[in-house]
Symmetry: C4
C-alpha cells in the first residue's frame, strides 16, 4: 500500500472512533505502519475529526520525527513509534480515552474475561499497564511490557486510557471498538452484582475458534 | 415469500440492530426461515453492517450447510438451524450481545418482570439459559430447553448474550429490541434500590391483552 | 387549529420522542385536543414512527371512540381521553416508557427536586401514581388524582412509565423530554452518593420565575 | 471579528452542544465577548436549537441590557455579563446542564482529577461553586470566586449545572464538552470502586505540557 493510500485509510478510520463513541472533541488517534519502510502515518495533533483530510495526516519515522506533513503529529506519537520499533508484527496502533474502558483504567483494574465476546477477541482479561507520563518512551515501554504477557491486543494504561494494536490500522480500530464494548458490558454486569471470569478452558476454546474460524 | 425477497428483508433488518444500539462492529446476526422449504437465510460471518447487501446473505439448509451464497454463514448458524429444526412455528431468529441484556447474562440472572412493558412483550421474566460453547448444537439445545418453560421469546445465554425468536424475522428483531429496552430499564431501576416483580395476575392480564388487542 | 393541521403537528411531534431517546420501537404516543370540539387526535396503535403520516393519525371523541381514521387508536387511548374529560385546561397528553423515568416508576419512587432544572419545569418532585391496568379508566383516574396534588405536569405511573400533560401537545412533549432529562441526572447523582432536595423557598422562587419570565 | 461574524460563530457553536449531548430541548447557552467593545453576543431565551439563526442572537452590553436583537436574551444573561465584567481575559462563556457534570453538581461534589485527560484540560479537580438563584449577580459572583482559586475553566454550580469560560467562545465550548466527558468517565470509575486522585506532580506536569505543547 502506498503512503497516499495509507493516509486516506487512516484518515477514514478516525470516523469509526466517532461513530462508536470512543472519542470526544480531538481526544483519540490512529496510526499505521508504512509497509516496507521505517515510517508511520499518524493523525495531526488537536485537529477536529470533521476537518481531517488525508493531506492532514503526518508521516513520521519510527523515532517520531516528521518526514512529511504540514502539521505537528499527535502528542501520542512517541508511544505509537515505540510500539512499531518494538513489535515488527504490528501494523496499526490506536489510542482513545473511551469512557467505560478509561473508567477501568482510572481504578487500575483489569477487565475480567466474563463474557464470550471477550474470550473471542481478547483471549482473556484486558490488562492494566503502568501509569506513565506522555512525551517520552514511558508509555510505549509500559505498553509493550504489558502486551507481552497477554493475548489481548488492548491495554488499559492506568489513570489514562486505552491503547490497542493490530496487524493493520483497521484491526487496531476493531480492537479499540470491541474493548469499549466489553468494558461497558462487564461494567454494567458488575454494577448489579458480582461477575465471574469464564473458566480458562472455555476461554481458550473460544479464542482459538474465533481467531481461526470467524469471518471470511 | 421468495428467497430473494427474504434476502432483502433479512439484510434490511440488520439496520434495525444498529439503529437501536444492539450491535457493535459485526457482532449480531439475523436469520429467517424460507417458507415451505427446509432452508434459512442468514447473515454472512464477520461482514460489517454497512457493506451488507441482499446478495451477501447466505442460504443454508436446516443442518447449517450452505446451499447458496458466496460467503461463509454466521458463526452462529448452528444455533439458528437447531431452533428451526426444533420449532416449526419459528420464522425468524436473532442473536445479539446487546449491552444491558448481556450484563444480566454475564451474572446469569433472569430479568424480573417488574414493568408493564415486560409483561406485555415477554409475559414474565426473561430467563437465563445455560453456558454453552459455540459451534455445535449446545447453544441451540440450551436455547430450546429454556424457551420451552417460558412465554418469553428472548433467552439470555449465560456469559454470552441474547437469542430471540419470532414467527418472522421482524418479530424476532422486535423481541431483541424490546429485550434490550427492558433489560436497561430494570437495570437502571435496580441500581438505586430494590425492584419488585409485578403480581402474576397482572402479568397474565397484560400479556393476554397485548398479544390479542395491541397493534393493527 | 383545524383537525388536519393538528394531525400534522401530532404526527411530527412523534419525531421528538425518537430524537430525545424516549421511545423504543412503537412504545410511546402523543395526543392533542381538537380546539372547540369534544375530540382528540392520537397516534394509531403499534405503527412504527418512520411509517407515521398525518393521515394515519386517529380522531376520537373524548370517550375514546374513533370518529375518523383508518387505524385503531393507541392502546392508551382511554387514559388520554380520561384526562381531556377531567381537565378542560389540558391540550396535549404524552405517554412514554423513557428508561430513566421508568426506572424510578419501577421502584415506585418519586424523583426528588434536587436540581434547579426540576424546580423550573416541575415546581417540585415528580410524583408517583398508582399501579393501574391498561384499557379502562384506571390509569386516567390515577393520573388525574396524582396531578391534582402537584405542580408537576409529569406523573410516573408505578411499574409502568410516564404520562405528561400540557396546554398543547408540544408542551406535553417538552414535559416528557425534560422529565427523562431530570430523571437521568438525579439517577446519576444518586448512584454515587446521597442527594438532597432543594429548599422549598428556592423551588418556589425558581418555579415562579421560569413560568413567568423564561422564553419569548 | 465583527459582531455579525460573531453572531454566526456563536449560533453555529450551539450545534456542538447538541452533538456532544450536553443539552436537552433549549437548556444551554453560549455567549462571546465582542472584541474591543463592552458588548457580548448571546443566545435568545427558550429558542430551540434547530430554529436558531445568526439573526436570532442577541447583542447585550455588559450589564445585560439588550443593545440589538429581536428576542429576549438567555435567562442566564446576568451570569455571562458578570463574568465578562470581572474577567477581561474571558472571551466566551458556556452554560449547560450536561447530565454527568450536573450529577456531581447535584451532590455538591468536586470531580477529582483521577485521569490524565482531566490534568491536561483542567489542571486539577473541577470545583463546586455555591448554590445561587438565577437572575441577579449571585451566580456570576459565585462563579468568579470559584474560578479564582482553581486552574479549571469549568465550575459546577451546586444543585444547578456547569459554567465554563475560555479566551473564545469555542474554547469555552471545548471546556464544556471535556467537562462532561471527564465527569462521565470518573462517575463510571467510581460506580465500581474507589478512585484515587493523580499525584499533584503528575497533574502539574501534564497540565503544563498540554497547555504549551498540544495542538497546532
Amino acid at each position: 500500500m502506498t503512503t497516499d493510500a495509507l493516509r486516506e485509510q487512516v484518515c477514514a478510520l478516525h470516523a469509526e472512533l466517532l461513530r462508536w463513541n470512543l472519542v470526544t472533541w480531538t481526544s483519540g488517534n490512529i496510526s499505521a505502519r508504512v509497509p516496507d519502510a521505517d515510517l508511520m502515518v499518524i493523525k495531526p495533533s488537536g485537529v477536529s475529526y470533521e476537518d481531517l483530510t488525508p493531506e492532514d495526516m503526518v508521516v513520521c519515522d519510527l523515532d517520531g520525527t516528521v518526514v512529511e506533513g504540514r502539521h505537528k503529529p499527535s502528542s501520542d506519537t512517541a508511544a505509537h513509534a515505540y510500539v512499531y520499533r518494538a513489535r515488527p508484527d504490528v501494523g496499526g496502533v490506536v489510542h482513545t480515552h473511551s469512557p467505560y474502558a478509561t473508567a477501568w483504567a482510572a481504578r487500575g483494574e483489569a477487565i475480567p474475561c466474563a463474557i464470550t465476546a471477550m474470550a473471542d477477541e481478547f483471549g482473556g482479561d484486558i490488562p492494566v499497564g503502568p501509569f506513565a507520563l506522555i512525551g517520552g518512551d514511558d508509555i510505549g515501554k509500559g505498553l509493550i511490557a504489558t502486551l507481552d504477557g497477554h493475548r489481548s491486543p488492548a491495554v488499559l494504561m492506568r489513570g489514562h486510557g486505552v491503547f490497542t494494536i493490530g496487524d493493520s490500522a483497521r484491526a487496531a480500530v476493531k480492537a479499540a471498538v470491541m474493548c469499549e464494548d466489553v468494558a461497558r458490558t462487564v461494567h454494567l454486569a458488575r454494577e448489579n452484582g458480582p461477575v465471574e471470569r469464564l473458566p480458562q478452558e472455555h476461554i481458550d476454546a473460544l479464542y482459538d475458534r474465533y481467531q481461526n474460524v470467524y469471518g471470511q
